[in-house]
Symmetry: D2
């Protein structure tokens, strides 16, 4: 079996999570997220947030995006996103399926620019057009970059000026928090946004995203929106237990740190060989440009994603490390890679 650098959700769950589950296997819990694990996990997360927020544990990112966006927008309202945004590209039209247009802009390095938001407002100016009402960004982005505090603040300021909601997709929030360049805290996300989520699936949980509602207008009847979008788990405590575990002893950040550290090792090693990076990613993934010949051979030994074709001869591959990555596997990968390069 080839070792996989395909993504950060290849392994089932962190052992501590499985252990907690085993310990609670015979326990009876009430359904639909009204259990005491949910209460406990919410308290653990709320410790990181100054404001009075509502927390909902959901099954996945697309589900979280779809529920939140459709819950708050009116039929004629649109959401602004960078072109590479997950909602714009990788959700098979989930947001449009609930009736909302995505106004997308090129951005820079996977990040939406404040001036693009202003442009959306200026262009969509009469009743024949949609009304831009929400800004959607991801941190980390789809390209592995992160927003600085200054950048997030600038976006938040534009949103406030134009009366837009700011929603932050945090499927890889942990990895963003864990990287060296980060200057943001969980509380900052609550400060700057109307809603955001703290991803679990890509950071050691089997399943689960913790959606944080900051804006009080978002809170009413939110569980109805979860239910009507098919997102309410009968065994809500399944997700809650995992957050209980992740937010105990700082496990959440430790796992992300492991993923990022492994990624730094990988980057440093690859840099020694003057490998060309497609983008300067900050988190636990690197996009590198290779000859198709090398890619083919490398793929016989390791599993990874071929991100995109650049031209007839070269493509970009994505290498992802995770909370579960064995650091030895990284070194072995580098060794094998060098053999292919220099043999």
């Amino acid at each position: 079996m080839k070792y996989s650098f395909r993504n950060d959700y290849s392994e089932l769950a962190h052992p501590k999570i499985l252990e907690l589950m085993l310990n609670n296997a015979n326990e009876q819990n009430i359904g639909y997220g009204l259990d005491k694990h949910s209460e406990r996990a919410k308290l653990l997360i709320k410790k990181f947030i100054d404001q009075d927020v509502d927390i909902h544990f959901l099954a996945g990112g697309t589900s979280a995006n779809k529920i939140l966006i459709s819950h708050v927008l009116r039929p004629y309202e649109a959401v602004i996103s960078v072109e590479s945004g997950h909602i714009n590209v990788h959700e098979s039209g989930a947001i449009e399926a609930n009736g909302h247009k995505i106004l997308y802009y090129p951005g820079k390095n996977g990040k939406l620019l404040p001036e693009e938001i202003v442009q959306a407002i200026l262009v969509n100016c009469d009743e024949h057009m949609v009304v831009p009402k929400m800004v959607y960004i991801s941190n980390a982005t789809e390209l592995g970059t992160i927003y600085t505090k200054k950048e997030i603040k600038a976006i938040s300021d534009v949103c406030k000026k134009y009366n837009l909601y700011l929603f932050i997709d945090g499927a890889r929030l942990a990895q963003a928090l864990a990287c060296n360049e980060n200057d943001l805290t969980i509380n900052d996300f609550a400060e700057f946004s109307d809603a955001f989520y703290i991803g679990g699936t890509k950071n050691g949980a089997m399943i689960g995203e913790a959606l944080i509602l900051v804006n009080s207008f978002f809170k009413d009847n939110f569980r109805n929106s979860i239910k009507l979008n098919g997102g309410m788990l009968a065994k809500g405590y399944l997700v809650a237990m995992q957050y209980e575990c992740l937010f105990t002893d700082n496990l959440y950040l430790k796992l992300a740190k492991h993923a990022v550290d492994a990624s730094i090792v990988l980057k440093e090693e690859l840099s020694k060989d003057n490998i060309e990076f497609f983008i300067e990613s900050n988190i636990n993934m690197h996009f590198i440009i290779l000859d198709n010949k090398i890619i083919k051979d490398l793929n016989k030994l390791y599993d990874f994603e071929i991100w995109k074709s650049l031209d007839n001869d070269r493509s970009v591959i994505r290498l992802v490390t995770s909370w579960a990555t064995n650091i030895n596997a990284v070194y072995e990968f580098v060794d094998d890679f060098r053999k292919l390069l220099y043999d």
Copy 2:
């Protein structure tokens, strides 16, 4: 802590499932249900079905209903259901949210009648009305009753006559299969329906429903519909592993049998006390009529659902046993109940 007869999803998962997960904890799997556990689980299920079917592992019943129904119906097409149907009452408008009207009928004992389907066809006869195109039934029903082979065939025949799809919600299919009055097999459901599902969440799994697509028209692009409805799990192998386990050594049926057997014990004991049953349920749940005074006292000792109020003095409570029910707890319940009755 009070023992709970509230439902059959109070405990996390059967130990064998947790055990399999532990054993596979370090294994790397590809995402989104394209892994080898999914392949294996599908093969195990397909052994029970003669026809060539597609199988998709989904997170929950509402999600399965919403995805399947919206995948196959055109905008003007409607689904026929019994009034107490899950899609009609307990999904916060999930089917309408995807654009489809539910035409509902009173039915009998929670079961839709063939003549009600005919009525839907006859009444909705011109282009100012919706076009009935699918029949939705549950087996077991929301009231714990089950369809006989003859009844299902009669419905299936009407569907064929009027060119309607038949979709069977099997959130409690296992419990239906396990009860003494059942004369249907998994293969029968594939014979009679266009699609059905084999519920996991209420029969020992943490999460998961196995949706079986029989009608080949349903199969195209089904994964897109899963995705756009937010139902595609990154760690699809999480659900697959559980079905792998449930469909090994007949565990699926054994668990349901345990639930039903416990229920029979409960029923026999309650019958000795001439307790009035609200409906003659077949599976792992009983609906009994009690004075509100008794209910209040009983509720101090045990957890259960108060199903509905009958009049000022009496209500119906629902008592559910499960794969995890301790048979001693049933006897204790009966003892405590008798004390309340006769003291």
Copy 3:
């Protein structure tokens, strides 16, 4: 050509409307309802209403219902209607297509009962269910009956108590206002409801319903909702001109009065022959029960709608008079009918 009592939209438009159009044929107007005819027509209507309302001219009843309901409800919110309500039966699922469940009740004589609204509130009590948020009634109803002031007030009071919107479909509001039993004014509808419309299509206009928004929450961005539902006419002044005409010299009421008066003649004559009425209708339509043999013969001479089959031998037919009905045609109909009855 057979004379038609099929409906009240068989003739193109009242001559005064066509005359006004001819007079304005060369005039240039700005599009999309921003013209001076629209302004003028709004002022003429506002004279009848004390409150500060917004008025929008729309193309038809289904469009008005769909736009208004989807504009104000959130995704999980439902609308309460009598079973025979136009939105529930005759809009091919237009309301569900925009995502909302219709909770329907039998009512009495085509009218919704206050206690049915209360029932909807009591039953839909948790987040697994839809949230009832609007009551939809029609005046006149689909069965030709009208609400009394007392009845409307009772419904309005329940709506206020439970924080529900009240929306009144007035496709045949004129006919309701014109009938002898009516004790309501246009201003009353503004008093009791959050929105209602004053139908034109069935009262002498070519096309058009004047939607009155009373609740200020409904007013924001309403034109966006008109546009996104495909309801914004490029030549908005087309509808406005007609309302300008209808609300000059009381033409609106005169036309409805003509329709109702013709209907009274018809009723009185039919009563002499002891014809059985299916329902006691108030407005310009009668539902009468006849032998199928008589219906068949009558249909050779006149056009009308066969409303429903009662049994093997008898059916209900609907006879509609209108603003355009020639009173001689009514007497001729009665004569011909009697010949069939007694020959």
Copy 4:
């Protein structure tokens, strides 16, 4: 009152249409487009088309786009459009409101390029993405350009290759047919597309678009889709009468020819003054670049649309002639314009 070059729907209707309406004012017709005018108008249009098509008369362009697109696409399917396409910019999200993503591309001169369609297919390649299934183009385009037969054929060929539907918005089809550069016939549109419409509202009708369904798959239950989108007019014969008139004695083309001819005069005159055109438009509209100072003064004398701001000093204005344009008004405009330019 200022003379208006704002658009081609400023005047109510061509006198011949009003005349036909007057002549038919007392006639009784059956509702909902099932009348004999509809039959007659369909026959008149079908003379221009070799294939066996279905024709539906609809109220407006946005409504036609919304109904057609939602009728044929499945939930996960998307429509490809040029960025400036009406559905993408000027329908307040009508297509997304019915659940479908619009994949848009820059195009050239308002026209979509075949290679952009190919790109949409190549990029949207897995089940996490939407499935491109329809190409939407307008002829004439929003920028007043027209497709050549060769261009339409190239797009049609790509659609056939990739199994995509081709839908042509013909709100200004008449004007496209009437311009000198046109080499396409109505029959060609039926040949190359799966559906298209022949616009009335912008070519002398009060209201109305004639939607032509070529692809037989589109035809089933289409009236249900019209109804559920609120697009079915009670007095369907209102639109039909207008098409009856427009398709008698070639009035349809004559009106468009008048509009285009007036536009050519305008262009020739403006060219004499070396006015800069923003784009080389073919039909009855010109986009010219002027100093804001001139625009302001000109706007005191004439009504027109300020299309977009170019920079601080200059903007683009749109000048539209129509079937109703008085050629003297064009010359007066040119005179007044020159005075402003040279005084």
